[in-house]
Amino acid sequence: MERTWNNKAWFMVLPVLLLVAFSAIIPLMTVVNYSVQDTFGNNDFFWAGSEWFDEILHSDRFWEAMGRNLVFSAIILIIEIPLGIFIALNMPKKGWGVPVCLVLMALPLLIPWNVVGTIWQVFGRVDIGLLGYSLRALGFNYNYVNDPFDAWITVIVMDVWHWTSLVVLLCYAGLVSIPDAYYQAAKIDGASRWAIFRYIQLPKMNRVLLIAVLLRFMDSFMIYTEPFVVTGGGPGNTTTFLSIDLVKLAIGEFNLGEAAAMSIVYFLIIMLLSWVFYTVMTAYDAEQ
């Protein structure tokens, strides 16, 4: 068949292109613009070249925040992925329990970030918060305001509480798509609970798990609102993640050039890490 090439179709994507340009590309270019200029106020800008990038890449403050982010994301993934799988495996597959569980699971996902932060900020307070007060009453020396370890624990538990549901729901979707015949065959073949998980359930969840890991990684690497509301990045800098630091730099210190350079580096790192995750996991998937 003769193919007809009709370039008019490109006009159809024009609105989307414009939208993307206004919402993403132009703001991004502003950031790029700031990152290569300096100012002494008065809206007077002059060329600074890669100065800001040098500064960022050689700043301990940046690398420490980066380290905290990586540790945080690693802990989150190590807890949320297995926990999510475990909960999904134990959720009912039919009957009245299904909608109940699904609603319970969806609940944390529906709460806005800053509200989640506020909930835990209050919940963990040692004077009026149920959690903080009870822990104190039980004899634990818990205080997220001045103990870095407690602050980390609080932020991590909060994230687990907020986001494990996402992993659960994705895994559950994979699990319910497995036909009954597979479980029947596994019984006939004498498969153990572990073998059923390893050879039937896990392969079916592979794909959704890839998505879950990617989403959770990107999200936790960019985490801002919740720890900011709970700890404000403290005590000291101990829960100051890259995003919190960025805001401090840009708005607190009005250091636009450095903040812009940091944004770009931050953005590139997230892209790079996500790409690495994706390639590694899809390669593994293809090899399977």
């Binding site: 015949a181 597979y182 029947q184 065959a185 019984k187 006939i188 073949d189 004498g190 498969a191 153990s192 073998a195 050879y199 039937i200 392969p203 399977q288």
Partner: protein, 356 residues
Amino acid sequence: MARIDCNHIRHAYGPHPKSDKDYALKEVHHAFEDGGAYALLGPSGCGKTTLLNIISGLLYPSHGELLFDGKDVTNLSTQERNIAQVFQFPVIYDTMTVYDNLAFPLRNRGVPEPDVDRKVRETLDMTGLADMAKRKARGLTADQKQKISLGRGLVRSDVNAILFDEPLTVIDPHMKWVLRSQLKQLHRRFGFTMVYVTHDQTEALTFAENVVVMYEGEIVQIGSPAELFERPKHTFVGYFIGSPGMNVMPVAVEGRSARLGSQTIELPGAPRAGITGAIELGIRPEYIRLGASGMPVSIRKVEDIGRHKVVRASFEGRDIAAIIGEDEDIPADPKIAFDPAGINIYADSWRVEMGG
């Protein structure tokens, strides 16, 4: 290898069965002899899969019990019953190789690796999968996948029974034939009890020495292919087996004769006195003689299907089919006669014995 007794087994999928309608299996009371090869034949939805799943322990029956060699196994798990079952649609473990798929049931039971290897290779050869042993099972075609499923059933030769649930549906006709004869051969060699579900009558009749016919949740007849053909116990068996199926017509019986419209038909014997309900006469097309003498019919159509011809005619206002030889001609003034050897009488669809 075991004899399997189904004692008054009934099963309903719903929680509160009230009438017979709620039961997927109305009542099955039957023994599968040790080492027997049974074909389970019946239309879609008659409960074949349900019965198999009850035997293998995937389903727990609502009523009744199941015995293996006289031992009650109703409460045993599938694994404890040691039964192999092959399902209607292929089930494979995607991430494993073909070899590992076949080895899986053996390894799960802790069979030593050298034995696993020997059995798996044997099964690979048998199913014609030997050259793809090292491939991942994921990318295979439907019939290759089904062969893997079949192989996983056959790889364990020490089982109490092997249950096949229409295993060859997705396999092409030639391979079907090959696999079927291999199954027969295996059965002779290992002597396991074998139940083979199908809704294809030729498959059932050529495969097994015993054919179990199910209809609406009940076993209506068990017998050799010849018995099913000559003496269908239920009009359903008459319709379902044979091509075309048995002619069944309502009659009035008086002593040794049956009346249909203006015609009187001589019976081979007198049905026992006092039969009630809807009385019908059944005769297979093979037992109807077409010639110059007998009862008048008008012929509507003659189908030449190779070795014989099927004559479709109208007899006393109802359709009737007869089979005649390929070379026989249709007489100008056609008449039919019923061969008494092929006549069966039914009361409410169940066959009535006739005295001599």
